[in-house]
């Protein structure tokens, strides 16, 4: 049986709100409008305006309010209409949320979830298309999750809401409408995924491809194409960027000896750079080829559809990179 990512998120919210009256949702248009992307559909009717709180357009203000509410053990879920807008609230995410448990020596933990669509959508231009995974996942005190499938969405959102620490939960607008099969187990209201564990979406032995969010789907498609050409790719859905599941990644690379990292964000200081470095740190001797890093182009997102397509990784880019990784040996690289 299938379920869209939208329904997965909606049901996860619903179940956690129903299980714990301390959980509430706040943000712009989450109530009467049912969410800009309808993730909160039906929740206002069910839980009322005190628990599904429409806020004025004050990212700094309402995020800080959410954080303050979490100081006292409420469990706010703060929706950013898109994560781009979280830039106006980033001081609270970093200082008031991420650092408080440490500064207070564990007296004040901050069980809050910041969620909303992240990264490139379609045709929305330079300001609305940025990926914030690398920024947030550089910050001690934050956990950063990036669901891909409906199972991810349900299991990780429920985990995030139950977690005692601040979690940045990065969704993807273009996945909201996608359907994925969801097992009975994953439909159960007790379902929950562990934070910090990657999922091997497809096993393989020739090359490891790491990806998160929408790029997992692209990587799976690339793996299919590669299979027809005799290359067996292992696709890792990172699920969590912080903590990063270094052991799953390294175990895979120790098996395949080749690594391609895929992300839609900007390349410099990106998730790919971190993964490459952690593999160099832990499995240097196992690498048979330079790591191939696929990322968004190092430009603000252009509006024009043809340029936009060029600015984010496509399936064929992943295929090409994987092939490069497979055909190029250390010796060759040294000669390059």
């Amino acid at each position: 049986k299938e379920m869209t990512v939208r329904d997965a998120l909606n049901s996860a919210l619903d179940e956690e709100m129903s299980a714990d009256p301390k959980v509430f949702l706040m943000g712009e248009e989450v109530g009467e409008y049912q969410g800009a992307y309808k993730i909160s559909k039906g929740l206002l009717e069910k839980y009322g305006p005190d628990r599904v709180l429409d806020t004025p357009i004050t990212e700094a203000g309402f995020t800080g309010i959410g954080v303050g509410a979490a100081y006292y053990g409420l469990r706010p879920v703060v929706e950013f209409m898109t994560f781009n807008f979280s830039m106006q609230a980033i001081d609270h995410i970093i200082n008031s949320a991420a650092k408080s448990n440490y500064m207070s020596a564990g007296q004040i933990n901050v069980p809050i979830v910041f969620r909303g669509p992240n990264g490139a959508a379609a045709g929305v231009g330079a300001q609305h298309s940025q990926c914030y995974a690398a920024w947030y996942a550089s910050v001690p005190g934050l956990k950063v999750l990036t669901p891909y499938s409906s199972e991810d969405a349900r299991g990780l959102l429920k985990a995030a809401i139950r977690d005692p620490d601040p979690v940045v939960f990065l969704e993807n607008e273009l996945l909201y409408g996608e359907s994925f099969p969801v097992s009975d187990e994953a439909r159960d209201s007790s379902f929950c995924l562990p934070i910090g564990k990657a999922k091997i979406e497809r096993e393989g032995k020739d090359v490891t491809i790491t990806a998160f969010s929408k790029m997992v789907g692209y990587s799976l498609k690339a793996a299919e194409i590669l299979a027809t050409e005799g290359i067996s790719a292992e696709v890792i859905n990172l699920r969590s960027i912080r903590p990063l599941d270094r052991s799953t990644i390294n175990a895979s690379v120790r098996k395949t000896n080749r690594l391609v990292t895929v992300e839609e964000g900007f390349p410099q200081h990106g998730v790919g750079a971190e993964i490459c470095t952690s593999v160099v740190e832990e499995s240097f001797g196992y690498l048979d080829a330079p790591v191939e890093r696929i990322a968004g182009a190092d430009v603000p997102m252009p509006y024009a559809a043809n340029l936009e397509r060029l600015a984010v990784p496509q399936v064929e880019d992943i295929v090409r990179a994987a092939k490069r990784a497979c055909y190029r040996s250390v010796a060759l690289a040294a000669a390059a």
């Binding site: 357009i57 990212e59 045709g123 390349p267 410099q268 190092d298 252009p302 024009a304």
Partner: protein, 370 residues
């Protein structure tokens, strides 16, 4: 503490008779029809898949854009939001350039790189469509700061340029709005803060979002005149605009103007628009600013039916032409992807021969297609 808030707290009362010459009347009418017709065409083109992403139309609010911008000089600046097509048009950017931009074409005013929410025109001093709430307000305040700086520091005595910042009611709860009211008043900057209060921020009613719905009152609270005006009446808007622009131009400081208006369409073309009361919509539809102006012009013998029809027709043709132009224009070249990231891309892979970096395959490491 010499500033008296209460004195300014009275909305100005206006006398709208004989407010406009025939020529002005026709110009104003044409600009409003241009805005309306352009936006209606955008809706069509969006549904035909010619433009994409978020497209926010301006229908119903034309009196504000026209009322203010048509009183500006070319050197004066305008800052807008994601709902920016019509501000750009009023300021003089051609319908072709805007439509092409929306089609994502090379002939667009930003060569297809900006898109619906990001109209810029250096030539026409359109400072940009700012897609984040509040963003445009400080940038506009900075432009006003520049005018003052040019006059007072750079000694350009004739620099009396003013800046107009347009934004919505929902934006007036955002901190940047207040920060800039304070600084603009403190430094007496030549800026007009124009709130287009269309009563809604997407699906959030203004009354649910703000503790004191009378936005104009924040003017006196921050040391500047605050004015409320019927934003469906372009002549009233013009009067208020004239006074505020004059004040700014004379170096007497900023003004906050709240225009009560209404958008005749959903928030964006993706908005199902289910929350607004049909009665409310009907109420404002009956106050359509274009219809009202038409009536005024006819009743005051400032224009004849055929004259107005001729304008309507000319605009229809102009928009048809813009669509055709946009449709036939080429897509941006692949090289554009890597151009314009920097004015000076030195160090970012530009070749030793000075050739542009997009020629250099090593420029964007980690890039997808390049």
């Amino acid at each position: 503490m010499s500033f008296s808030a209460t004195k300014l707290a009275q909305p100005l009362t206006l006398n709208t008779t004989a407010l406009i010459t025939k020529q002005e009347g026709l110009e104003v009418y044409e600009d409003m029809v241009l805005g309306r017709t352009f936006e209606d065409m955008c809706a069509q083109m969006y549904y035909r898949g010619k433009m994409f992403g978020f497209v926010h139309l301006y229908n119903g609010q034309e009196a504000v854009s026209t009322g203010f911008i048509k009183l500006l000089k070319k050197e004066d600046s305008v800052a807008s939001t994601y709902r920016d097509h019509v501000h750009a048009l009023s300021k003089g950017v051609s319908a072709r350039a805007v439509m092409s931009e929306l089609f994502g074409k090379k002939t667009g005013c930003c060569r297809g790189q900006g898109g619906s929410m990001h109209m810029f025109s250096k030539e026409h001093n359109v400072l940009g469509g700012f897609a984040f709430i509040g963003e445009g307000i400080p940038v506009a305040t900075g432009a006003a700061f520049t005018s003052k700086y040019r006059r007072e520091v750079l000694k350009e005595a004739d620099c009396d340029h003013v800046t107009v910042a347009f934004f919505g009611d929902g934006t007036c709860n955002n901190g940047q709005f207040f920060e800039c009211l304070n600084m603009a008043a403190l430094w007496k900057l030549p800026i007009i803060f124009v709130v287009e209060n269309n009563l809604w921020a997407i699906g959030m009613s203004h009354l649910r979002a703000t503790s004191d719905p009378e936005i104009w009152k924040k003017g006196p609270a921050f040391g500047m005149p605050g004015v409320h005006v019927d934003g469906m009446d372009v002549l009233k808007v013009r009067e208020v605009a004239k006074e505020a622009i004059g004040r700014a131009r004379r170096g007497e400081g900023p003004t906050l103007v709240e225009c009560e208006t209404y958008r005749f369409r959903g928030h964006s073309l993706a908005d199902p628009d289910e929350l607004r009361d049909p009665a409310e919509k009907a109420h404002y539809a009956a106050r359509d600013p274009i219809t009202a102006l038409k009536k005024y012009l006819l009743e005051n013998n400032l224009a004849s039916e055929p004259e107005l029809k001729a304008i309507d027709k000319r605009i229809d043709e102009l928009i048809e032409d813009a669509v055709e132009f946009a449709d036939e224009s080429p897509f941006p070249a692949r090289s554009q992807l890597l151009e314009n990231v920097f004015a000076d891309p030195k160090g970012f892979g530009i070749g030793p021969d000075g050739r542009y970096r997009c020629e250099d395959p090593k420029f964007t490491e980690g890039t997808a297609h390049v």
